[in-house]
């Protein structure tokens, strides 16, 4: 997941045109045209046309068209969701990083915790929804818990894997240069596993965006998930689609920022630099 897009092999012909930007927009354009054609052929169907979604998006952002309960709610909802996504992500990382390092490096902790975690892992976040609402009540706490749960496992598993797969040669190199066994963790394990840990954080943040809609099904009043749920109950499908588009773009931008950060911090790693 963490690899950068491979550069295309250079054209060998006399005229070189960089077609990469073109390649990237082909699929979105085809999808958009297909969607538009589909709705044009079935007027009055249940799926709104792209133009209706565009109008809904405008009204969500700036109002002035429908002026109903949804108008101008985009920014507050986006902020509510983003703060839950990042808050829950930070919470998940704060638990998963140290736990993953302990499980990865200490046999005792691994034997004690790994079976339990392996059984908990396949349980989807959606299945936790009812229990979460009983434990944390209806509202933001429940949403927070579910989103944190969603990003917890990718961070944990990647951290465990990263600290376990440090090349043994590097321990030998460090020891023959005078590093005592107790100092191997900060001097070797931590830096060597940063790329793997970073991959886990990136996946975890991505999953937090995926889970946010489920999280906000717990009866919270704000957030993109709540907006989609409300719109669904009112059969405002164009708002549902607009909400989906906003989550997609927000998740993408968030991931892109993390990716760039990784390139900067992990310039030494052939996988990231």
């Amino acid at each position: 997941m963490s690899e950068a897009v491979e550069p295309l092999p250079a054209e060998t012909g006399p005229v070189r045109i960089d077609v990469t930007p073109l390649l990237r927009i082909v699929v979105p354009v085809v999808l958009l045209v297909g969607w538009w054609a589909g709705t044009a052929l079935h007027p009055g169907g249940l799926i709104p046309a792209p133009s209706e979604v565009g109008v809904a998006l405008w009204d969500l952002a700036f109002g002035g068209i429908n002026d109903d309960a949804f108008s101008r709610m985009l920014l507050p909802d986006l902020i509510a969701s983003a703060s839950r996504v990042y808050g829950a992500f930070v919470l998940a990382a704060a638990v998963a990083l140290p736990l993953g390092m302990l499980i990865g490096r200490l046999r005792l902790v691994r034997e004690m915790l790994e079976p339990t975690l392996q059984v908990l892992r396949p349980v989807p976040v959606t299945a936790w929804l009812p229990l979460s609402m009983i434990m944390f009540g209806i509202g933001p706490k429940s949403a927070f818990f579910l989103v944190a749960l969603g990003s917890f496992f990718p961070i944990l598993l990647n951290t465990i894997f990263a600290v376990r797969s440090v090349e043994p040669r590097l321990f030998e190199a460090a020891q023959m240069l005078g590093v005592s066994p107790a100092r191997l963790f900060p001097k070797v394990v931590l830096p060597a596993s940063l790329p793997g840990i970073f991959t886990g954080l990136r996946l975890g943040l991505g999953l937090a965006w995926v889970v946010i809609v489920v999280g906000e099904m717990t009866g919270v009043q704000t957030g993109l998930g709540a907006m989609i749920m409300d719109a669904r109950q009112l059969s405002r499908t164009e708002i549902v689609i607009a909400g989906m588009a906003v989550i997609g773009v927000a998740g993408f931008l968030s991931d892109y920022a993390v990716l760039m950060l990784g390139r900067k911090l992990l310039a030494w790693s052939p996988r990231h630099g």
Partner: protein, 253 residues
């Protein structure tokens, strides 16, 4: 006579699986001596070197370095691995400063030391590069530089040039000899190439497998720089090749 920097006394190694990798190895190395270990694959060359380094326990006999029995790795014995073992997250300069910092030198002093060895190894252009940006030959220069920067008394080198092309290999052999002469380092150097061994060493130690053991030693007294195409060089080569092959013959019998 000065006391030896290293002595292996009836040193043996049986790995946990029961494989006897080395039996009754006796080897003495004088300070400043350049010794090459040569022998068929699996004869315990790496095992012996790793026991000297302190990475492997000695299961019988003992290995003594500068009067003390080896119980673990230490900065007095610097290892140069065939696969380099550089820290990929550190620049070349910081890779070389790693040892001095690990041993508690102040950062500024460690960096000054690193700069000196960066220059000595001809790495100035790459001082701020990361290992993955360097060729194999350059990486091996870094690996040698960090051992020197750490005041090692012995360099333990396990086929350090085995993965390099012939040209790079020859240049590095030359540089290694220059450094060795300048520093008075003791070197234990494992190689598969008889020519490399005779070109570099004061003494060539021939080992043989099943179980691994030392079967012969040959002192090389040719003047340096040695001419690999001279008749004297060829005589030694023929003699050592016969020792290596005699051994294969008994294996086959």
């Amino acid at each position: 006579m000065t006391p030896p920097i290293l002595s292996a006394i009836n040193a043996g190694k049986v790995y946990p699986g029961g494989i006897e990798a080395l039996r009754n190895a006796n080897l003495t190395i004088a300070p400043g001596e350049f010794v090459c270990l040569i022998g068929a694959s699996g004869c315990g060359k790496s095992t012996l070197l790793r026991m000297i380094a302190g990475f492997e326990t000695v299961t019988s006999g003992q290995i003594v370095v500068r009067g003390k029995e080896v119980t673990g790795p230490g900065p007095d014995r610097g290892m140069v691995f065939q696969d380099y073992g550089l820290f990929p997250w550190l620049t070349i300069r910081k890779n070389i400063a790693f040892g001095p910092i690990a041993r508690g030198k102040p950062k500024a002093e460690a960096m000054a030391i690193a700069d000196r060895f960066v220059s000595m190894m001809g790495l100035d252009r790459f001082a701020d590069s990361y290992p993955h940006q360097l060729s194999g030959g350059m990486k091996q220069r870094v690996a040698i530089g960090r051992v020197l920067a750490n005041d090692a008394r012995m360099a333990l080198m396990d086929e350090p040039f085995g993965a390099l092309d012939a040209m790079t290999r020859e240049r590095l052999q030359e540089e290694l000899l220059t450094i060795w002469r300048a520093t008075g380092l003791s070197v234990v150097f494992v190689t598969h190439s008889l020519e490399e061994a005779i070109y570099l060493a004061d003494r060539v130690v021939v080992m043989s497998p099943g179980p691994g053991r030392i079967v012969a030693e040959e002192r090389i007294t040719l003047e340096r720089p040695r001419d690999v195409s001279s008749p004297e060089f060829n005589d030694i080569r023929r003699h050592l090749a016969a020792l290596l092959h005699a051994d294969h013959a008994t294996e086959a019998a």
